[in-house]
């Protein structure tokens, strides 16, 4: 099932919000204390989430959360304020990049512990089911999380309880010989979910159409009352997708790039751009969308950087009710 042209432009804009937010941040990395993680290469998955999420759905992210939040529509200025420790940051300067969340867009809390958020997601889905509330729960985590026993326990619980969780494993690592990854003896990551009788498939997450369709189908099954689902979202590994990004070259995307290096071929945004133009959408229209978004990110960053620091009282308020 492919999407309408309007929705496709929406998806493209969501991907660009994710990318331009991170690039803007990388360009000012020296202003950020501590580490941050960017979502470059994961924009198609983020955009698919934005198209699939219903207003009653919850989303658990992880340390690499910028892209999904931008795709979902979180305010970039508020996020920059949080990352810069400025007043008006949604976490009051307590969380920074690692813990960005946005309840209005379905993200009530973000854990930076590997597998931490996915394990919480099972309980959120249990709540939805027992309270008879609408909505499913998306659990985003990386391939590394599959190393954690916590993921196995959580997959087993979700399967036993048949709660509406869509596990989305953003795998940005290369496969090793005979096994899923260098640290996973299993042949594939989705096999590790399937053994718990959680329906699991792998999808090319650099293909916006494929990941949108796969996530949409899985979500529809969950809404129809099926048990949990697992998507192995195979994401092109971008050299910068490591922690400690401050040392990183920007990798700023040039939409008009004619180059032909591996990354340009793999980049989900450029792939979708090529596909859209091949499908007859005018390049100028796409460049205009990009310029507007890029402009918005730069302005958001400037306003955030000019804002006062978060008030000192935020440090120790409200630890206990």
């Amino acid at each position: 099932m492919s999407v309408s042209p309007a929705v496709r432009l929406e998806r493209f804009a969501a991907m660009l919000r994710a990318r331009r937010f991170d690039e803007t941040l990388i360009e000012h990395a020296e202003m950020v204390v501590g580490v941050f993680h960017v979502s470059i290469g994961m924009e198609a998955t983020a955009a698919a989430l934005a198209l699939t999420r219903g207003s009653d759905d919850l989303v658990m992210l992880n340390h690499r959360n910028h892209g999904a939040l931008q795709a979902l529509g979180s305010d970039p200025e508020a996020m920059f304020r949080e990352i810069l420790g400025r007043d008006g940051g949604p976490q009051r300067g307590r969380g920074g990049s690692l813990h960005l969340c946005d309840p209005e867009h379905g993200v009530p809390y973000t854990s930076a512990m590997v597998a931490g958020g996915a394990a919480l997601a099972v309980g959120m889905a249990l709540a939805r089911k027992r309270l008879g509330h609408q909505g499913i729960v998306f659990a985003f985590f990386g391939d590394g999380a599959m190393n954690e026993g916590a993921m196995h326990e959580s997959l087993n619980l979700a399967s036993l309880w048949r709660v509406p969780v869509l596990f989305v494993c953003e795998s940005n690592t290369r496969e090793a010989a005979e096994r899923a990854t260098a640290t996973q003896a299993a042949r594939s990551l989705h096999a590790l979910a399937a053994v718990h009788q959680v329906a699991a498939t792998a999808v090319d997450a650099a293909d916006a159409g494929a990941i949108t369709a796969a996530m949409g189908e899985a979500a529809a099954e969950l809404r129809a009352g099926a048990g949990p689902r697992f998507l192995e979202a195979r994401t092109p590994p971008w050299s910068g997708n490591a922690a400690f990004i401050p040392q990183l070259t920007t990798g700023r995307l040039d939409l008009s790039s004619g180059e032909d290096d591996a990354w340009v071929q793999a980049d989900p945004i450029l792939r979708e751009m090529r596909a859209m133009t091949a499908d007859g959408i005018a390049t100028a229209e796409l460049l205009a969308i990009d310029r507007a978004i890029d402009e918005r990110m730069r302005e958001a960053f400037e306003r955030a950087a000019a804002a006062p620091l978060a008030p000192a009282t935020h440090a120790s308020e409200g630890v206990w009710a």
């Binding site: 919850l58 658990m60 940051g89 949604p90 976490q91 009051r92 307590r94 969380g95 813990h99 969340c101 309840p103 009530p108 809390y109 973000t110 854990s111 512990m113 931490g116 394990a119 919480l120 997601a121 099972v122 309980g123 959120m124 249990l126 709540a127 939805r128 027992r130 309270l131 509330h133 729960v137 026993g149 916590a150 326990e153 959580s154 087993n156 619980l157 036993l160 309880w161 409200g318 630890v319 206990w320 009710a321």
Partner: protein
């Protein structure tokens, strides 16, 4: 009325299940296998979900459910099992309100049996309150009487903080006054008065302190006993005021001394009021041996508490 600790605990849980028709128990009974059955599993099977032996996912699911509006109580049974599910409690639940900037919170309760059940051995008789008190955001309550367990369960299951309910298998038979309405947790609470010294404690050791006070009374010594049920956040001012009348204070704790709630209480009082003569009576620095005659070599007993108090008064 007079009720046993076990009766008070059961009544408080029954009341909570009635008051909050959504409250979920993620795990079996609060009392079994080592206390009399509270009958809740039989009366409310639909309120109980029995998880696999997966402490991490179970704890995390409870925290997640509470974030999503389903208040959950996790009967951990033996506290040390939660070492397998430590991260969701100390590094997720405790941080939800703080890290979400106040947007979310996790009103989840973990109930666990701490201290020695006698014969459980080194891997089953821990006092996790010592560790949990150090985690900002966790409310840690360790009741020692029927009235305080009533208040503790009410506070935990109606409050907004992730709460650790420190229980003790050997408290079940102790009886005391129990009001009709849910008791409020008042910290600290004077349980017995006396002018020669004051014993400060919580959970089972509070009962041992009362027994020690009896022994001392037979020697003509009148000692007060103070219960501090809420270990975190500790009501420091109130503790300092409640102990103000006494120059001799004995802090009693089943935890090992290093990092114990008792040594923290002692430190707070000593800092505020030098010249106070204090003693710490804790479990000696060893794991809990299986054989009970060996266990009694390391645990604080009424006799040991009384002896330390006599020595302090004599000093």
């Amino acid at each position: 009325m007079i009720a046993t600790y076990h009766e008070a605990r059961t009544r408080a849980l029954e009341r909570a299940l009635a008051d909050d028709p959504e409250l979920l128990l993620l795990g079996g009974s609060l009392s079994l296998p080592f206390n009399p059955d509270d009958g809740l599993a039989a009366r409310h099977p639909e309120r109980i979900l029995l998880p696999p032996i997966s402490e991490f996912a179970t704890a995390a699911a409870a925290v997640g459910a509470s974030i999503a509006g389903l208040r959950t109580l996790v009967p951990v049974s033996t506290s040390s099992f939660l070492f397998y599910g430590f991260a969701p409690v100390v590094n997720e639940a405790a941080n939800v309100r703080y890290l979400s900037g106040g947007a979310s919170n996790a009103p989840v309760t973990f109930h666990m049996m701490c201290g020695s059940r006698r014969g459980g051995g080194a891997q089953h008789e821990h006092t996790l309150q010592a560790m949990f008190q150090n985690v900002p955001g966790l409310r840690v309550i360790a009741p020692g009487t029927p009235a305080s367990v009533d208040g503790a369960l009410h506070a935990a299951l109606t409050g907004e903080d992730p709460t650790i309910l420190i229980d003790h298998i050997l408290l079940a038979p102790f009886d005391g006054e129990l009001g009709e309405a849910p008791a409020a947790v008042t910290d600290p609470a004077l349980v017995r008065d006396g002018g020669d010294a004051m014993l400060v404690s919580y959970s089972l050791m509070l009962q041992h302190c009362l027994a020690a006070a009896q022994l001392l009374a037979e020697d003509g010594l009148e000692v007060a006993v103070l219960e501090v049920a809420t270990l975190a956040p500790l009501a420091v001012e109130e503790l300092i005021n409640a102990t103000a009348g006494h120059e001799r204070l004995v802090f009693v704790d089943e935890s090992r001394a290093a990092g114990s709630p008792a040594s923290h209480m002692l430190a707070q009082v000593a800092q505020a009021r030098p010249q106070t003569h204090t003693r710490l009576v804790c479990t000696l620095d060893a794991p809990a041996p299986f054989a009970t005659h060996l266990l009694d070599e390391i645990l604080p007993t009424p006799a040991r508490i009384a002896a330390a108090t006599r020595a302090l008064i004599a000093a």
